[in-house]
Symmetry: C2
Subunit: 171 residues, 2 copies
Amino acid sequence: MSRGLLSVLLVLVAIAVSSSLAKPEKNIAKMGKRIPQTLSRGWGDQLIWAQTYEEALYWARAQNKPLMVIFHLEDCPHSASMKKVFAEDKDIQKVADEDLIVLNLVYETTDKHLSPDGQYVPRIIFVDPSMTVRADITGRYSNRMYAYEPSDIKLLLSNMQKAKKLLKTEL
Amino acid sequence: MSRGLLSVLLVLVAIAVSSSLAKPEKNIAKMGKRIPQTLSRGWGDQLIWAQTYEEALYWARAQNKPLMVIFHLEDCPHSASMKKVFAEDKDIQKVADEDLIVLNLVYETTDKHLSPDGQYVPRIIFVDPSMTVRADITGRYSNRMYAYEPSDIKLLLSNMQKAKKLLKTEL
């Protein structure tokens, strides 16, 4: 199979995966019929995703890059529309790929610092490699400060660039 | 595209994914050339994998099923050979699919109970839905009690069935 064709097929598969992920506990398909789950869950198949928060923090420290944590749900329409815009925006994907550690989660962690104003989705939180949650990097909604709508994609890009200016913590 | 062909392609893609995953920090491929990472990481693309330990514990409680946690590393040959046998064994896959919550991790959690005799790979730990780590369910190596070799696959299957006999904890 040629590389070109394989790439096309991979894209098709990626689309199929991202659009068909059922909630795991509801998936009662018989063996042999499921499509493998991806770590990207549709937020950018070309990015290197951390699997867990612990892993993501390790990479953030090791590579001295800020971490971007995306909280979302598979069956949330707001998450879905944000995901589509995020995955298709080349600038967003480029900065995410080159300058950030990325993690998307459908389940909350035990770290309360990741929900400064509550647990809602979609919610995007940045963490400095010094392990400080950047509660100062917010979206435009005062009642849900870390929420973004598709129309906020430029603000999100700007926030991703803001996160790159690392905190200089004094020890 | 027919379903049959798509299935074959998915299998091909799954094999490609499981065999080509580089360590994330070393993957410097340019955009557009990477193969999406899967949550299965090659341990069974047809299984429904939890992404994080917190999520897996939630499912274990919600579904009253024991959790099986597989610690492994992408570049560990012992993990790779165990993974191959695990993914290809129909009985193993069936029990894992029907009776267990499954989680595979390439990074340790903060729960020390998951490393009763140290952090090594491959290592398989069962957790009862009562949230008790089943330190009593072991392999055959006294120095690495939760390690399994490919030749131990029947013992692993037997241990998976043992985990199904839930602990009756008194409150």
